[in-house]
Every structure is written in C-alpha cells, then in structure tokens.
C-alpha cells in the first residue's frame, strides 16, 4: 500500500468514528442520483492537498516533513477569536467564536452543517497533529466579524471538495451561511 493510501485509511477510520457524519454520507449518496457526486469525504482534502503541493502524503505518526508546514501549522494556543488560533490553520470565513458561538460550536439558533472541509493542525502545546473539520454554521445571515481567509491547499471550483469559497451548508436546513467553526475529529 502506498503512503497516500495509508494516510487515507487512517484518516477515514478517524472520521468514521463519528456516526452522525457517516449517516450524512449515506444521505448524500441519495442526493447524487441523477448527477455526478463530487467526493465530499472531508479527509480527501488532506490527501489531495498533499498531492497538490507535490509533497508525499504522511504515513500515520510520521514527523512532518519540510515543506508540509502549510498544512500543519504551529499556531496561537489561546485565543480562539484570532485567525492564527492553532485549530484555524485552514479556515475560511467568519469565526463563530466572534459571533456568539465557540471554536467548534454554533451561535444560538444557527445550525451546524453536516458537510465540511478539513485541515491538519498541530497543537503547539502537546505537539500532536489533529485532524480538524471546518464546519459552517448555517441559517442566519453572515456574522461579519473576524474574517479569516487562510488559503493553504485551497483549489479552484473544479476541485470543489477543496474550495472553501463554496457555501458549505449542503445538508443543513438552509444554504444561508452564518459563520465557520473548527472541530477536532481525531488525532493523526
């Protein structure tokens, strides 16, 4: 098995621990009838981004090689309302923590989207690399506070699973974007 496959399998297991996401993927499969389904499995973003950078994908537990820092950043450990907060290494949008929510919680009345894009961020305290799912909160107009646009690994629309300009509210009650969160889904 090549290294990319190893990484993919590892990340898939981490994601698969979350039954709600799994059930969403099943629902998503139904949505694809009659059209082409774009791979939405969030881990694909990590693998494809590694490929996009022309870098080897990381086998589980391997040290981060030189040049891969764009995907694995050392960030601010304390302030979750700052763009350089460690979990926000690939976030694009208004921070929910500035909008009445938290770094991984929606503000009151907004709905977490079941779909997301994903990054890998290193916690500056324990030095471990965490898989972070960037889930939008939907159902209210844009919060308009703390706009962060981290573009590492971001791809054009013909690779939509890697495009953070899309309104990532697929599967939410409405496609009205409010703010963005960063949720730890596992350790790499």
């Amino acid at each position: 098995m090549d290294k990319i496959d190893q990484l993919f399998e590892h990340l898939t297991r981490a994601i698969a621990q979350r039954s709600s996401r799994r059930s969403f993927l099943a629902r998503l499969g139904k949505l694809a009838v009659g059209g082409m389904i774009i791979p939405l499995l969030p881990v694909d973003r990590v693998t494809a981004s590694a490929r996009a950078q022309g870098l080897p994908a990381l086998p589980p537990g391997a040290p981060v090689p030189a040049g891969m820092e764009a995907m694995v950043k050392h960030g601010n450990p304390d302030d979750d309302s700052a763009c350089d907060y460690w979990k926000y290494c690939a976030i694009d949008g208004y921070l929910c923590s500035c909008c009445g929510g938290g770094s991984h919680d929606c503000p009151p009345g907004a709905s977490p989207s079941p779909t997301s894009w994903v990054g890998t961020c290193r916690h500056p305290g324990d030095g471990k690399d965490y898989i972070v799912s960037y889930r939008d909160c939907c159902g209210k107009t844009p919060c308009g506070r703390c706009l962060c646009a981290n573009t590492e690994g971001e791809m054009p629309l013909y690779r939509p699973q890697l495009d953070s300009d899309l309104i990532w509210c697929f599967g939410a009650p409405t496609m009205v974007y409010h703010c963005s969160t960063a949720e730890i889904v596992g350790i790499k």
């Binding site: 159902g139 054009p156 496609m175």
Partner: protein, 379 residues
C-alpha cells in the same frame, strides 16, 4: 379720499408685481425615470455582493468616462449577472428564501429591460444553482441569446437550461466532474473538469443535450492548478495558473483543443516571487492579441493576494510587452472592448474602481462607494 387712493395704489402695485412674481417662480417639476441608451464600451457593470447581507445582490452600472453612476440592478442571494448578446436585456440568476433568510428556497432567472432597468419577468429553475462567493461564468447566455445556462452544484454538477424566447425551463444537462459555463457558440458550452480537462457540450435547437465530449487534460491540477475564471474571447479561453503559466484553449470544436502552455514568468520574476492572483486575475483584449495578468509578489498558496501590477503579454510572441503599476492594489481586473480600450481595476476592501488608459497604462481616475465589488462585466 385717502383710502380710495390707497386702494387704487395697492391694486396698481399688485397688477404690476404679479407678472414679475409669475416669471420669478420656478416651473413645477415633472418627475420621470431616466432610461439608458445603448451601452458604451466604457460602461462598467460592477457586481457587489454585500458581505454582511448577501441576500440582495447589486450591479452598479458606471460610465467610466464621465465617472458617473448610471443605475443599479438588484438580484437575489449571491446572484449571477448576465447580459444578452444584443444588449436588450440584463439577467440576474438568483436564489430566494420565502422569508429572506429562511423558508422555502426558490431559484429563478430574473429578466430586466436593459434600457429602463425595470423588471420584465422571471423563469423559475430547480433550486440547486451553485452558491459560492460570486464567480464569473456561473451562468451565461448562448451567443444567439436563446438559452440561459445556469451552473448547478448540489454537490452533483449539472447545468440548467432556460429557453429565454419561450420564457421556460427546458431541462438539465449533466456535466459529471466539471463545472461552470464557458459559452462558445449558439448551441455550445464548455466546463472545467477536476482532472484538468475540458468538457464540451453541444445542444440541439430545443436546448437538449446533443453531444458531449471531454478533452484530454491540458494541465495538472495537482501540481499547478489554473484559476477557474478564464478570459473568454470569441471561442478562445485564456487561463492563468497559480504558478504563472498561460494556456490558450480553442473551444470552437466538438472537443476542446489546448495549445501548449507557456510561462508568464522569467527566471528573475520567479526569484522575486511574482505570480498571478486575486479574484478575476486575467483578462484579454477583444482581438485576443494581448492578455493581462494581475500580479503580486508572494509565496505558495498566495493565489488570492491582491495585485500591485498588471502585466501585459503578446499572445502571438508569448512575451511580456508592458508592466502597469497600479495606484491601489486590485482584486479583479478587466479590459474593455471598443476602439480605445481601458483597464478597469477593482479594489474589494477599498470598495472602488480605478481605470487606466491602454496601452500606456496612464491612471485616469477612481470611482468609490461600490459596496463589496467582486466582479466587473462590460458590453
């Protein structure tokens, strides 16, 4: 006696003053609505997606010669703006929720008169159009003005077809793995695909699928992706890439045909970290002889950085012929058509449009208060 004299005097005075009063008084205003004439090549259509409330999109129509606002068009949630080829109609393809930000979703092609800017009618389409920070080519009209083509992403990808003559939705055409609508004929459009290829679709006269053919990949998206908002001139699309390659793709045939790409950067440019970027980062002259790139200095993954210069390339010689330093760093650029083309540069954060004459790149002036201007269109 005195009182009679006083009355006569007052009457004479009144008679004498009355005509002067009438002459001094301004005539009552007659209120109308202005109409627009035929568009000039120097009119700029600026798409504003209000950042905090994108539920209402706006297009400002500016006369860049007179530096004057001519009018405004409205649309729904992150709408797509399209002009008819004969300049008689304008379109806003939008998404609407029944309670503005919640409720039942409706997507529609809204049709406006290009002279009165008044609403004419609408055609409802399936509520699945692409919703994204506004991008060019998310909707487009066939060259004969007959069919409106609207990109869908649910995330399954397809194109909705609307017959503008019959004012009705015709159907959907699946574009598996490919996105956006690059129109290159009366019954032809192309889409960009995930593997670096181009899908070309031919329609029949009813707006239904006639044929569909995918080209070979012409670039490697994993190594050096092209931007997804190419400049389209006639049947040729000009693409720029994250690392400064330029690709010319002929969309006239049943299968897209790309010429080998060439680099916009010299070795010195590369060392100085120059690369294209921003939002609308490429434009081409009306004859396709020149390509304009919005350039910045930055490292990897700075593809959305604002540009401080516009570089001009001769497409035949594949060589740079000019560098135009910008007064204000721009996020989107466009070159106008017409005998005296100008360079239009949008600054998103500063909410303004600056123009430069071509080919000398002389600064002409600025127009401010344009909301959150992402895109520039023109006749």
């Amino acid at each position: 006696m005195q009182s009679r004299i006083a009355i006569v005097a007052a009457t004479l005075l009144a008679l004498a003053v009355a005509p002067y009063s009438a002459r001094a008084q301004l005539a009552p205003d007659q209120m109308t609505s202005y109409k627009l004439g035929a568009p000039s090549p120097h009119w700029a259509y600026i798409f504003d997606s209000p950042i905090s409330v994108p539920q209402v999109s706006k297009v400002y129509i500016l006369d860049t010669d007179a530096r004057k606002m001519l009018g405004q068009l409205n649309g729904g949630y992150i709408a797509s703006f399209v002009m008819s080829p004969d300049a008689s109609e304008l379109y806003m393809v939008g998404t609407f929720y029944s309670r503005t930000w919640h409720g039942t979703r409706t997507d529609a092609v809204e049709i406006f008169d290009a002279h009165t800017l008044g609403f004419k009618s609408e055609v409802k389409i399936p509520p699945k159009r692409l919703l994204i920070v506004p991008k060019d080519n998310s909707a487009a009209v066939t060259r004969d003005g007959r069919f409106m083509l609207v990109e869908n992403l649910t995330p399954a990808t397809s194109v909705s077809v609307v017959d503008l003559k019959a004012r009705k939705f015709v159907g959907e055409i699946e574009t598996p793995g490919c996105v956006q609508v690059l129109v290159s004929g009366a019954r032809k459009f192309s889409s960009m695909c995930a593997d670096g290829s181009i899908l070309t679709v031919n329609l029949d006269d009813a707006g239904k699928l006639k044929s569909r053919k995918q080209s070979k990949p012409f670039f490697n998206p994993s190594k050096d992706p092209v931007f997804d908002q190419p400049a389209l001139v006639g049947t040729t699309a000009y693409f720029d890439s994250y690392h400064g390659m330029i690709y010319q793709v002929d969309l006239s045939g049943d299968e897209a045909r790309a010429e080998p790409g060439w680099s916009a950067l010299s070795e010195d440019d590369r060392k100085a970290n120059w690369r294209p970027g921003g939002w609308q980062s490429i434009s081409a002259s009306a004859d396709g002889g020149s390509v304009y790139l919005l350039m910045h200095q930055g490292g990897e993954w700075t593809h959305k950085q604002t540009g401080k210069e516009v570089w001009v390339f001769d497409t035949a010689k594949k060589a740079r012929i000019a560098r135009i330093p910008l007064k204000t760093e721009a996020y989107s650029i466009r070159t106008s058509s017409g005998p005296k083309p100008i360079l239009e540069c949008l600054a998103l954060i500063q909410s303004q449009l600056e123009t430069y004459s071509l080919p000398d790149g002389k600064y002409q002036g600025v127009y401010t208060n344009l909301g959150a201007p992402f895109l520039i269109y023109g006749p």
